[in-house]
């Protein structure tokens, strides 16, 4: 009897994590850890059930994910066309590259103070921070991707009679796609961290806020629950959504750069 490979791989991946969860309550008992320092597993599970039942956990997760989705989608919609437009001309792209590098370096958390002043505490400021973390990194990577498409490829397409639209959809976008996806993955990595930081500082709903409020009451079980949720969510987003997307685009279109 053979199990499907995906099941085996999933099981071998989850086994060490399961071992951690078994080890955790044992260690707590053995060293007699104060629950104010680190909570026991049942306490965290109880906190999980309780917040699930009164709906606060779902509300926090929903608020956080909603901000990430709105900020990221807006940023991608604006930055990809902009990046392509800037990357088409070598002159413009060589002028703008340092500029976008500077801002992508600054992206995310460094904008929290000024974002809270401009937009006030709440949805606007946090979405702005996420937008900005994704926007500059994706725009920079798109610019890079378009400007690394070899000139002969573009000339060949043009001499075969490709119009502006065909050039855009058949040469420039596919050629830059591996870079765009890498940019989205990096940008989201920064945005996710920025989100947690921003929620600690500037809102009253969201996972970061849940953690930070729990700290005020020394409710370590809620903090640890939040950390597990944050880790699991990001692992799911990154491994099940972004990494396969990146691999697929690089495999499908990555050749354009090598050629």
């Amino acid at each position: 009897m053979t199990l499907p490979r995906a099941v085996v791989r999933g099981a071998t991946f989850l086994a060490p994590l399961a071992a951690l969860f078994v080890l955790w309550p044992i260690l707590i008992r053995v060293f007699d850890v104060n629950p104010r320092v680190f909570p026991d597993l049942p306490a965290v599970a109880l906190a999980g059930l309780e917040t699930l039942r009164d709906g606060t956990l779902v509300a926090h997760i929903g608020a956080s994910l909603g901000r990430v989705v709105v900020g990221t989608v807006l940023a991608i919609l604006v930055s990809v066309p902009l990046g392509v437009a800037m990357g088409v001309s070598p002159v413009v792209s060589s002028l703008l590259t340092p500029l976008f590098r500077f801002f992508s370096v600054l992206a995310g958390i460094a904008w929290i103070p000024i974002a809270t002043l401009w937009f006030g505490y709440g949805f606007g400021a946090i979405t702005f921070v996420i937008f900005n973390a994704v926007f500059f990194i994706v725009a920079y990577n798109t610019l890079l991707g378009v400007s690394t498409i070899p000139m002969p490829v573009r000339n060949a397409a043009a001499s075969l009679g490709a119009g502006r639209w065909a050039m855009l959809t058949e040469v420039l976008l596919p050629g830059a796609l591996p870079n765009i996806v890498t940019g989205i993955r990096t940008g989201l990595g920064f945005a996710w961290r920025g989100l947690i930081a921003a929620e600690m500082i500037a809102t009253n709903v969201g996972l970061g806020y849940m953690l930070f409020v729990a700290r005020d009451f020394y409710r370590t079980e809620v903090i640890v629950l939040g950390m597990i949720v944050i880790g699991a969510l990001w692992l799911l987003i990154d491994r099940l959504l972004l990494a396969p997307l990146e691999r697929a685009t690089v495999e499908r279109w990555g050749m354009v750069r090598a050629g």
């Binding site: 071998t12 991946f13 989850l14 086994a15 060490p16 994590l17 071992a19 104010r36 680190f38 002159v91 060589s94 002028l95 703008l96 590259t97 340092p98 500029l99 590098r101 500077f102 801002f103 370096v105 600054l106 995310g108 958390i109 460094a110 904008w111 929290i112 103070p113 000024i114 809270t116 002043l117 401009w118 990595g189 920064f190 996710w192 961290r193 920025g194 947690i196 930081a197 600690m200 500082i201 996972l207 970061g208 953690l211 930070f212 729990a214 700290r215 020394y218 370590t220 903090i223 640890v224 939040g226 950390m227 597990i228 944050i230 880790g231 699991a232 990001w234 692992l235 990154d238 491994r239």
Partner: protein, 268 residues
């Protein structure tokens, strides 16, 4: 030749001789635009300071000695954290990469803890260590550690087994194989990991300084926010951006490129 083309040719020649020009000139029109928007009064000056205000405030903060001191605090924290993170991360990464069992047992937890992210640790760290240096150092070490470990392990595993065997059959001992085959082979990946780790660590430091708030550039910015002084926030942002731009573009990226060129061939 139009004057525009002539200007472009001049610019290209200048950047060929002084590469630094290329990373400064593009900022000129941006600053000019910023000045025009600010002086035209599109936004209230209190919310949108002009470049002149920012320069004046920059000089002021340097003269008072606040900026150099905070900058030093931030950079020292980052350097200490990065050094500790590397000292822990490279051996751990080697172990995870070299042993199949260690890889099977440790890789999933490593991914999970990397996913939790530095900043999510802040609340519980504040309970453990209070508002202080330990908390911030912990956050930075944590942030730098994971990219270094994950990339080192990746690099170690990318060294082809034939090279191990070749070195062993030529009479190299295990430690010597690690030192002369595995480590150089993994070096490009280690550098990439360090660069990523520092990129994350830098941002984590800002967040930690904002929340923990004792000193540092992040604290400077958030303190200014509390006082409603946009000018000082902008000063902080520019200092942060310029500093990281220099560190990343002029130090880390060339090192990464150099190790990639020198040792990157091993992976082929």
């Amino acid at each position: 030749m139009t004057p525009l083309q002539r200007a472009w040719a001049l610019y290209v020649r200048a950047t060929a001789r002084f590469p630094a020009v290329r990373s400064i000139v593009p900022f000129v029109p941006v600053v000019a635009l910023w000045a025009i928007v600010a002086y035209a009064g599109v936004f209230p000056r209190a919310f949108f300071p002009a470049p002149g205000d920012v320069v004046r405030s920059f000089g002021d903060l340097i003269y008072k000695g606040i900026l150099p001191e905070y900058l030093e605090d931030s950079v020292v924290r980052l350097a200490v954290g990065a050094a500790c993170g590397m000292a822990l991360g490279i051996p751990l990464g080697l172990a995870v990469g070299l042993s199949r069992r260690a890889h099977a047992a440790l890789w999933p937890p490593l991914l999970f803890f990397a996913a939790i992210g530095d900043i999510a640790w802040l609340p519980i760290l504040l309970i453990w260590f209070g508002f202080g240096l330990t908390t911030m150092t912990f956050v930075i070490v944590y942030t730098v550690l994971f990219p270094v470990v994950l990339n080192t392990a990746l690099g170690v595993r990318s060294v082809p087994t034939e090279l191990h065997r070749a070195a062993l059959s030529l009479g190299a001992s295990r430690p010597r194989v690690v030192w002369e085959v595995v480590l150089p082979g993994a070096l490009p990946n280690i550098m990439t990991g360090l660069r990523n780790g520092l990129g994350y660590g830098w941002r984590a430091l800002i967040a930690a300084e904002i929340i923990v708030g004792t000193s540092g550039i992040g604290f400077l910015m958030f303190d200014a926010r509390r006082a409603g002084s946009v000018v000082e926030i902008v000063v902080g942002m520019i200092v942060l951006g310029a500093l990281w731009y220099v560190v990343d573009g002029w130090i880390l990226a060339p090192i990464e490129r150099a190790t990639g060129q020198r040792w990157g061939l091993v992976t082929r």
